[in-house]
Amino acid sequence: MAINWFKYSSPASFYSLSGKMVPIFMWLAVVLLIAGMYVGFFVAPTDFQQGEAYRIIFIHVPAAWMSMFLYLVMAFWAGIGLAFNTRLSSMLATAIAPTGAMFTFLALWTGALWGKPMWGTWWVWDARLTSELILLFLYIGFMSLQAAIDDPRRADKAGAILALVGVVNIPIIYFSVQWWNTLHQGASVSLNQAPAMATTMLTGMLIMVFASWMYSIAVILKRVRVIILERESHTAWVAELRKKEAAR
């Protein structure tokens, strides 16, 4: 079945298509979430080292992964928008940022809550933790920059340049922080020493990862739809849409 992809790259047709997709992904997310939580809380056994505290893993790891992934996806779409001047991809990048920032915050928050019982402190200046914090700053920088610019086209382009510069910087930051840390002393705690996982734990975690994927897609699509409406409010097709909705 051949799909005309270009058809969907126009905001108008994307709007109607995504309208159908949002509920699907939302329901998928809910179902996976319930399944994941069930496995996490009622199937997975107690960890012999960490006790019950390890159950934070079912949101910590998905959040941490999503935070990094979403930055890449955001920079990708922003770059496409800059290079090919496609409105839709820039709007996607704008829509991804808040969700990415939220997952970054969640990774930090759950990590901190996990760290207190496990390491005895909320925070250490460990490589992974520090680079996650910087990632949050990058997200916030991107959003603040876009918020500070009134003209959406300019905001798109400026944000794209920043996101691309940031993406170059992420590996550098990650390795520099890691190196900086190990130079002084062996890190007092290493995340790599997590105990080998029971399969049920792993399944639960993976289900939760999928749930976060579905959730992200749903939320981002939902947000991008609002952004499309906001930006294209003066066009004929939005006026048409309004008329249809008013009639209903």
Binding site: T121, W122, W123, V124, W125, D126, T130, L133, F137, I140, S144, A147, A148, V177, W180, N181, H184, Q185
Partner: protein, 219 residues
């Protein structure tokens, strides 16, 4: 009319909501930079913490001094304020207060969380917050004098730091001193009362000095 000034400045800040957040995040980032350049040993970080937080608060407040008057100067609003029938000192007090609301208050609210990053004990966090609450308005008030004096001078941003930092030093010493005293299990009341005294004195004199500096700068 005092309220109009505050309202206007807050409105301007709200128009660019990011303004409020950026001062805050600047503060957060500077505080987070130190462990990056000093290294991650927790013991050392804990001793540094009050100093670092206070220096960061001071820098954050100082950095935003530039915009207290300069945009009003460039577009002629300040000229209009000088020939306004209202008391200039009061107008200035309004502007300093708005500056504090936009830059100082968020810092005070954020400080405890940053203190946690440096693993400070709970009581020290409390003292830190109180000392910031008393100290940051002083920073805004004194800063206003510096901002007024350097108005329209090129490189004002850096010049203002030069003028203002020496005046900030007592606040810095007693502010961070209070927290250190608490951590060393000594009394910290004296420090806080001194900060309170600074606040009162600057509330009375700073608007007046600022008004005078503005008149000089605009001549």
């Amino acid at each position: 009319m005092f309220l109009w000034v505050i309202k206007r400045d807050l409105l301007l800040a709200m128009r660019r909501r990011s303004d409020v957040f950026t001062t805050l995040f600047f503060f957060v980032i500077v505080v987070s930079l130190f462990p990056l350049s000093v290294g991650p040993e927790m013991n050392m970080l804990r001793t540094m913490a009050p100093g670092v937080v206070w220096v960061a608060a001071l820098l954050a407040s100082m950095l935003s001094l530039g915009r207290m008057f300069s945009s009003d100067y460039l577009d002629g609003t300040l000229e209009q304020m000088l020939i306004s029938p209202h008391s200039l000192s009061l107008l200035v007090l309004g502007k300093a207060l708005a500056h504090w609301l936009v830059t100082g208050v968020p810092l005070v609210l954020m400080a405890p969380i940053l203190g946690i990053q440096y693993d400070l004990p709970v009581e020290a966090l409390f003292v830190l917050t109180i000392s910031l609450l008393l100290g940051t308005p002083v920073l805004s008030l004194i800063g206003a004098i510096g901002a007024a004096l350097t108005l329209g001078l090129r490189g004002g941003g850096v010049l203002v730091s030069l003028l203002v930092l020496p005046l900030y030093i007592p606040v810095l010493i007693f502010g961070s001193g209070a927290v250190e005293a608490n951590m060393a299990e000594l009394g910290y009341d004296a420090h806080l009362s001194l900060l309170g005294a600074f606040l009162l004195v600057s509330l009375v004199f700073a608007p007046w000095a600022t008004a005078a500096s503005l008149r000089v700068s605009m001549e």
